[in-house]
Amino acid sequence: MILDVDGMRVFFPYDFIYPEQYSYMLDLKRALDAKGHCLLEMPSGTGKTISLLSLTVSYLLAFPQTLSKLIYCSRTIPEIEKVIEELRKLRIYIEKETGEASNIIGVGLASRKHLCINPEVSKARDSKVIDSGCHALTASYVRARAQRDDTIPQCEFFEKFDLHGREFPLPAGCYNFDDLRDFGHQKGWCPYFLARHAVVAANVVVYSYHYLLDPKISEIVSKEMKREACVVFDEAHNIDNICVDSMSININRKILDKAKTAITHLTEHIQRVKMSDSNRLQEEYNRLVAGLRQAASQQDLIANPILPKDILEENVPGNIRMADYFISFIRRLVDFLKMRLTVTHAVQESPAGFLKDIRARAFIDRKPLRFCSERLASIVRSLELTDVSDLAPLVAVANFATLVSTYLQGFAIIIEPFEDKAPNIPNPILYLRCLDSSIAIKPVFTKFQTVVITSGTLSPLDMYPKILDFHPVIQSSFTMTLARPCILPMIVTKGNDQVSISSKFESRDDPAVVRNYGKLLVEMSRCVPDGMVCFFTSYLYLENVVATWYDHGIISDLQRHKLVFIETQDDAETSLALINYMKACDRGRGGLLLAVARGKVSEGIDFDHHYGRCVIMMGIPFMYTQSRILKARLEYLRDQFNIRENDFLTFDAMRHAAQCVGRVMRGKTDYGIMLFADQRFSRADKRNKLPRWIQEYLMDSKCNLSTEEAVQLTRPWLRQMAQPFTRDDQLGVSLLTLEQLNSADSIAQVQRRAQITL
């Protein structure tokens, strides 16, 4: 249907629309009009993606001057594919309505692993191997050499693309990865470079977060994007952690040893080049003297880890211009780091302190350090190295040097002698941690006119502008209009014996608490059909509790009702458990999955319909507060942003809890129980931080329950939800047709809802 959103024609490819989708579009339109950033929370399963696409694409068509591009950042490959599929639907609908061919181009972009069609290279499984294999065939100097020498292999797809594809614009349409590969096969062009090339011209680009946030990649991929673009971060509840991680580096002994070997290789190589072709090094030296910053060529695998604005427009300092000097410089650096790793107790220092130390003890100045990674890239280029995968540890060291010398604020260096898990085996690690999530995302905010941060769980909304340091023009949270109460959130605070349950450190190993948690699980597994997921706060606690339950016979009680599966830290084991869990749900035996908040299961795996009828959150998933990294970040947040430690910890814990329980609800026909089992959840400061769509159904009468009371609420509710429910029942309440939407009073209602949220 064609909607009228605030005076603009919006193409919407479905016949029905949810009221919250309409208000979401209204808010988004306002943000686009204001050319500002916005923060929108809307429960998953209410059609966030299509609302976003419909509105922005219609906006693109209506006002091509103000908005020329939509950049959609998603987290996983399947999600990217989903977005492209929705876009395809929308595009077909627009063509049908307007009666003319639409010139919208939508492209998904992923790593070579997903796009490479070279039969030799794509055989490898590891993405690093594929990258380096591609590099070995397509680097400019390899190709230059291949022109002279026929025996050097080349990638025919890349050659053909380079010959014809660059001038040829991609025909309008939507391309997911399969389409790109097919198109590549058909034309004989390399799909990866085709996509990279098409990204510049396409109207809608869908790719992963890292292409924008990680400065190493964004410099290469996203540099040519124009300002008149709308950037969307979907499922962005963890965006601050992604920002922080993209600028953090960990170095341990193994990496340093490998870096050492890489240096030896480099030295040998330099000697060889000196013997055969001494001009090449001289040329490089001259270039560096002349101060020509190498424009990062498209295939650079070693990119600068710092942000564009921080890259110096200066010459590489004299003491690392010569290849030999640079090698000895970096060798000294590695030795210094190795020396620093020999600690017996944990050390934390600021980048400034580290620089002072390295200057005093290794006579290394700040300036050459800053050029370290760029200089390394340059030497790799001039040595014409083809296999760069071995260099990765050395690149890490160089990146570390560049980062530590560039940013004196917002970073911390922490050296820990032991790992947390094995406190007796010395395994020193040097962490360079970014503490300020706003550093990495700042260029995105300044470069693009509209940035939309959206997710199913963003509450409390006011935290994100603070930690990401931006000013949203619109920030709102939408609820779910439902024809029937299809979520049942409950807070269980005590067991049947009235002993309060909590995962608090002091009481978590108390046998009464563990037993009550077990009893709660048994009771719930008795009355909940099919699948049930239970989240613990950590792997350690999960293991302890399960061991105790086993001794008390609770596990065998559980197994009478459901098969029990446990998530472990091993990826393969976990996916096997997941497959069998789903099998158990399908066959009617029923499954119970014991998982860990922040683990693989809690992010990205949906337990829709019968795969998850109930989620139990055993305790509040606080971060490990003894970690020095976390302490440093909390301290920084307190000093710089005025955020109290406790506020941030609660915020983080509650967003993870919401994320875990949100797994169960994936659409309006779905239904599920969300059970928070900790006495602390009932406190106002925790409860208020849950997303609005959950809070709305969390009445006072459902807080502070005992196990038995929770079961008593569950049974009749499950019966009611099992009653037949069709689309007609939703119509008019949670689902609107065009006529219903256009009726004056429903618009007023929708707008009133939207007003409240402002």
Binding site: A483, R484, P485, R526, C527, V528, P529, D530, R560, H561, K562, C585, D586, R587, G588, R589, G590, H609, H610, R613, S701, E708, E709, Q712, R715, P716, L718, R719, Q720, M721, A722, Q723, P724, F725, T726, D728, D729
Partner: protein
């Protein structure tokens, strides 16, 4: 059912309930508004959907699979799920044979991971009622096995002639099923045998049950309370529309006469096992003159279907149901009260359903 009926069941023995919280009224005074309304709407839709000119499977062979696992001992239906269900089934069996005289019924129970056939397919209601009575003393134990129960039903339904309607009605209280093998394979077999499986759940929606019903064209429902359960079970009194795979053939039917006067005393064929006294009353098969004391029956000797004309007529009625009522507003009608019950029609009644009146076309 009423609590007074079973004196052993005390209020404090039952589960902990917040009765004061379950009562919630909306503006129109209905309880649990949204869901109740949805149920009402589906019921009306179902009535409207029923059409007159649909082929129905009138010769029904129905197996009732009764879950007899631990879950049946729960007390959310009074006094227990077991007793309550058996009582409803008792009424159902009587009513079923009344409304479907040429159909047959059988009962299977499942507990402790196995399934047992408690009464074979037959059109003798008394036999099933006896079976139900016996079941009242059997304790509910262990876990049920859906697969085993379906296999048992399948083994006898599979060999029936193709013109019959084969049905399974599962009454399921548990939320799990403990199967020896792959249940999907059994479902496949059930589907191939053209058996219609319906499930009435007592606790919650179970995916596998919903799946079976969807694939076999049956219905899936979950009861909210005892009255609703009765309604749901009684929905299966109506013969279902015949599936397209069902054959249509002519069936030989015998109309036996009641021979009196000069008949010699003889044993009836239907009670051979419990040695009834010899008497002269009964119906004689027109083909082999075996004697039966009750009709309808299938002749044990020659396999002829024995019915009376009223039986056929009664089954016939399903084919031509009443026409739909026409809905008109109370103000528009000339009558001020219901012809049948003399209830006044008022436009201001709290429940708007009352303010309509229904006239038959």
């Amino acid at each position: 059912m009423q609590e007074e009926e079973d004196p052993k069941e005390y209020r404090w023995e039952s589960g902990y309930e917040k009765t004061w919280e379950t009562i919630q009224e909306d503006e129109s005074g209905r309880l649990e508004p949204s869901v109740t309304e949805i149920i009402q709407r589906t019921k009306r839709r179902k009535l409207l959907d029923r059409e007159a000119s649909v082929r129905l499977g009138i010769m029904r062979h129905v197996y009732i699979i009764l879950d007899y696992s631990q879950a049946m001992t729960e007390q959310d239906l009074k006094p227990t799920r077991q007793i309550c269900t058996l009582k409803i089934l008792e009424d159902f069996i009587k009513e079923f044979h009344d409304q479907n005289p040429i159909s047959q019924l059988g009962i299977i129970t499942t507990q402790n991971k196995v399934a047992k056939r408690n009464s074979d397919l037959s059109n003798n209601p008394q036999r099933h009622l006896d079976c139900i009575k016996k079941l009242q003393d059997v304790p509910c134990r262990g876990e049920p096995s859906l697969q085993n129960a379906l296999e048992v039903a399948l083994s006898s339904l599979r060999h029936l002639p193709p013109h019959t309607s084969r049905e399974i009605l599962i009454i399921y209280a548990a939320l799990t099923t403990c199967d020896p093998g792959e249940i999907i394979a059994t479902l496949q077999k059930v589907q191939e045998a053209n058996i219609r499986v319906s499930v009435v759940g007592l606790a919650a929606e179970l995916h596998v049950c919903k799946d079976i019903t969807k694939n076999t064209g049956g219905s899936f429902s979950v009861s909210i309370n005892d009255l609703h359960l009765k309604e749901l079970i009684n929905e299966h009194l109506e013969p279902p529309p015949a599936s397209t795979k069902m054959d249509h053939t002519l069936i030989k039917v015998g109309f036996p006469h009641q021979i009196n006067a000069d008949a010699k005393p003889a044993l009836c064929m239907c009670h051979l096992d419990d040695l009834p006294p010899l008497n002269t009353r009964g119906y004689y098969c027109p083909q082999c003159t075996a004697k039966y004391c009750d009709l309808p029956a299938e002749c044990r000797v020659c396999g002829l279907m024995l019915v009376t004309a009223p039986h056929l007529a009664r089954s016939y009625r399903h084919l031509f149901p009443l026409k739909h009522f026409n809905e008109i507003l109370a103000e528009e009608s000339s009558a001020k009260e219901c012809y049948g019950c003399q209830k006044q029609f008022t436009a201001t009644a709290a429940d708007k359903n009352v303010s309509y009146m229904f006239l038959m076309l």
